[in-house]
């Protein structure tokens, strides 16, 4: 966990970048809340900033209602208390044990991580980051290039693998991704690696046949390695809006998603939709991506995340 400490710093640096870019005169909501007495107008401001962070109407309304109730009962009277209140609420939403990467049972190998998501969310880059993270923990990693659909996708993963010095199992362009998954599992077993990460093609959650393909990949993997995939990560673009909730629901149905990798949090988007997702589906966020290099990854920290929600 000491490893986490250094990461929080990185997270803050990432946010700092964002903040610096946006400070242009606009006062952060945090500034607005600090040292102020709470009133209805301030609660309205808070509501707006939650909506602006993509938290969504339903979740925002329920948060705001509870704040309003606390305010009217006299339990909360200042802006600072509001921040603490929201932080506590969200921290409860994501207990620490929920956020660890799921693995194979002790003594057995490999842990299989299936990575999914809609098109363009950053699956391949996120895999490079995960790979780097696992390697820095002293684990051996093998990659499976199951995106046989998009032009250049296999090559993209290969380039990352060369840079990170790990091996890739691949199939032919246009081939059956489940067959690649099968080969990758065999290779992972034969080589005794610690972790096998499977990259899949981006697919819109509305494309039923493509979603069924994920189910097939899962069953092929499970047949070879009982209990696998141990972790199924959904990569979510932090810039996405309310639609991400539908993505989470559909991917959970077809692919049994167990965790979220929230990518592209280094921009100005806040990724507030993950709150609504936790509310509706109980899928926890496990990692966040904060840049283009393999080092730009962190374990998800709800405290820092909430802080960033209010940074404007």
């Amino acid at each position: 966990m000491a490893f986490l400490g250094s990461l929080v710093n990185k997270f803050k640096q990432g946010l700092e970048k964002t903040r610096a870019a946006l400070v242009g005169g606009a006062q952060g909501l945090r500034n607005l809340l600090t040292g102020r007495r709470l009133d209805e107008a301030l609660i309205d401001d808070l509501e707006r900033s939650l909506l602006r962070a993509d938290v969504g109407v339903k979740t925002t309304t329920s948060l705001i209602e509870s704040i309003r109730a606390e305010f009217r009962s006299g339990a909360i009277t200042t802006g600072d208390q509001v921040i603490d209140f929201v932080k506590a609420r969200l921290r409860d939403l994501w207990p620490a044990q929920d956020r660890a990467l799921l693995g194979a049972p002790a003594g057995s190998r490999p842990t299989v991580v299936l990575v999914t998501g809609v098109n363009g969310v950053g699956k391949t880059t996120s895999i490079a980051k995960l790979c780097q993270l696992l390697r820095s923990q002293g684990k051996s990693v093998l990659l499976g290039a199951c995106d046989t659909f998009r032009a250049g996708a296999v090559r993209q993963l290969e380039i990352w693998a060369e840079r990170l010095n790990v091996e890739v199992v691949k199939g032919a362009q246009g081939g059956d991704p489940a067959a690649v998954a099968f080969d990758a599992c065999s290779a992972a077993l034969a080589r005794g690696v610690d972790v096998l990460i499977l990259d899949t093609a981006g697919r819109l959650h509305t494309q039923d046949p493509l979603m069924r393909q994920l189910t097939k990949i899962r069953s092929v993997v499970a047949k070879q390695i009982p209990g696998a995939p141990h972790e199924t990560l959904l990569v979510l673009d932090a810039t996405s809006g309310q639609n991400a909730l539908r993505q989470a629901e559909e991917f959970q149905k077809s692919a049994g998603v167990t965790g979220i990798f929230l990518s592209k949090l280094d921009g100005t988007a806040k990724g507030g939709i993950v709150i609504a997702i936790k509310d509706a589906t109980s899928i926890p966020v496990k990692f966040v991506g904060l840049g283009e290099t393999p080092e730009d990854v962190q374990a998800f920290d709800p405290g820092v995340f909430v802080e960033a929600l209010f940074a404007e």
């Binding site: 109407v57 950053g122 993209q156 959650h205 932090a238 921009g267 100005t268």
Partner: protein, 513 residues
């Protein structure tokens, strides 16, 4: 994709349906739901407020004419403002209120024709918005219209981006016939790790322009690397390309599923580059497309194209009035007709018409029709373009696979059977079922449906010329549609019906009559 929004607007209509006048109070109440729906659709909060305010003002300011009820009045206001927020002019909106005109044969191309060429188009956007895919789709769009294209790989950052563009260009060149060629300009040796080759892209683009001039292509499309709008160095690179090459079009590629942040990034790109068009991608998802409303509002740049699928040519021109129609649940018949025109030749259509009239349609003709229809896109997407069908379809699961079965059954019939389905007896039915992997019941059902269909079309075809003209006229006004598809009668009138078509739809429909 717009079901929730459509529902909210129809709810607005219903709420005001019983009111004799529009007052500050009843409109504020009715607009609340619209506001929530817009926010849920990821329209930016400032845009939502601006939109709701302007609709409110329009409605309050309007003198309720005798011919329009307050409810009709407000839907009219919503429609007008929707068109405006989506980038159309008020003239467009007014035109759309009348009979929709079919698309003219020669419209203005959304991509300028520059002489001497090439027309330079620069793509820009965030990572993962779909720039490279869109380059391929645009190339296909242009090739189909007889314009030659060179795509240039100016994304030197993302691993394998150059290979992706090369592959996509080769695919377009191979898949679409025509003399206009699609080529790719790339300098794979200039590729470098992230952040290492900033600025090199400018030279690559410059050499691409030289090459394009030399080979005389009509359109040059520059595929730039995805970048964050807060990355100063990379944004600077784009500014430089813009200054050196002075492209005729700068298109911002935006993921239709983007949330509130769409406004921040669009604004930043626009400030640096003066974007003159937006391309919305991944529009075939179930996004409610709020980005479409927001981006236009903050940049002022019109949405030119939308990406609608995995296929390499899945791109459509964007039309504000048609989109407003879709949002209001009025469908988009014009786009449907256009799609059909792309697939069916005039000659084929006339031949079929003749056969229909004589009651000679065979299973083969039917199969041909079905295949044509399927080339136009996923079935559900097509149905969504029909007035009123969009909201009806939202819970219906349509599997294109079902149509595979139909095709399989027909394919398992002999030529004689296809020409004369009445030949099919129990034994033949069993054989066909076996051959197509379906059940004899399914075969029987299909044959029965086919019989009904051909009888119906024969009746239709035997109408007198005058009757037919009348029928078509009724259709375009929505009258005929109304009896086939419950839901629409003329433009702004929603007839106060329920917004979602649950199984009770039939009874409700009867009540209305």
């Amino acid at each position: 994709m717009f079901e929730r929004l459509s529902d909210a607007f129809q709810g607005l209509y219903r709420k005001l349906a019983g009111q004799s006048e529009i007052s500050e109070r009843n409109i504020a109440e009715a607009m609340g739901e619209v506001r929530t729906a817009l926010l849920d659709a990821d329209v930016h909060i400032d845009v939502v407020n601006a939109f709701c305010d302007s609709v409110k003002q329009d409605a309050l300011g309007a003198h309720v004419t005798k011919s329009l009820t307050p409810a009709q009045e407000i839907i009219g206001a919503v429609h007008k403002r929707l068109v405006e927020f989506l980038g159309g002019t008020s003239a467009d909106a007014a035109a759309a209120m009348g009979t929709p005109a079919l698309p003219a044969a020669t419209g203005d191309s959304p991509i300028l024709k520059i002489s001497p060429g090439p027309t330079i188009v620069m793509m820009c956007g965030l990572q993962g918005s779909g720039k490279t895919t869109t380059c391929g789709k645009l190339a296909a769009y242009l090739k189909k219209r007889g314009r030659s294209v060179m795509v240039a790989a100016a994304d030197l950052q993302r691993p394998a981006a150059v290979e992706q563009l090369q592959t996509v260009a080769a695919q377009v060149e191979k898949e679409f016939p025509g003399t206009a060629r699609v080529t790719c300009y790339a300098e794979p040796d200039k590729v470098a790790a992230y952040g290492k080759a900033v600025g090199v892209a400018v030279d690559v683009c410059r050499r691409a322009v030289e090459e394009a001039r030399k080979t005389g292509v009509d359109v040059l499309i520059l595929d730039t690397a995805g970048r964050l709008h807060v990355n100063d160095a990379l944004m600077g690179e784009l500014t430089q390309v813009n200054r050196v090459l002075n492209p005729h079009h700068i298109f911002l590629v935006v993921d239709a599923m983007t949330g509130q942040d769409a406004v921040n990034s669009a604004k930043a790109f626009h400030e640096r580059l003066k974007v003159d068009g937006v391309i919305l991608t991944k529009f075939d998802s179930d996004t409610r497309g709020g980005a479409a409303l927001s981006v236009k509002h903050v940049t002022g740049a019109p949405i030119k194209f939308v990406g609608v699928g995995e296929k390499i040519d899945a791109i459509e021109e964007f039309h504000a009035t048609r989109m407003a129609g879709r949002i209001l649940g009025m469908g988009d018949v014009v786009s449907l007709v256009e799609k059909a025109q792309e697939q069916v030749s005039q000659e084929d259509a006339e031949k079929l018409q003749d056969k229909l009239a004589k009651g000679q349609m065979t299973m083969d003709d039917f199969l041909k029709q079905l295949k044509m229809l399927r080339r136009m896109g996923p079935f559900k997407q097509l149905l969504g373009l029909l007035p009123g069908v969009g909201s009806m379809m939202k819970d219906v699961h349509i599997e294109d696979k079902e149509l595979d079965k139909v095709e399989a059954i027909i394919s398992s019939m002999t030529r004689k059977e296809r020409e004369n389905p009445s030949l099919v007896d129990t034994a033949r039915r069993r054989r066909i079922a076996k051959g197509s992997g379906s059940s004899p019941d399914a075969v029987a059902k299909l044959l029965k449906q086919f019989e009904m269909l051909s009888r119906m079309s024969k009746t239709m075809a035997s109408m007198s010329g005058m009757d037919k003209v009348k029928a078509v006229k009724e259709m375009s006004k929505g009258g005929a549609m109304d009896s086939m598809v419950p839901g629409l009668s003329g433009m702004p009138d929603f007839s106060g019906r329920g917004s979602s078509f649950t199984p009770s739809v039939k009874s409700r429909f009867k009540k209305r009559k």
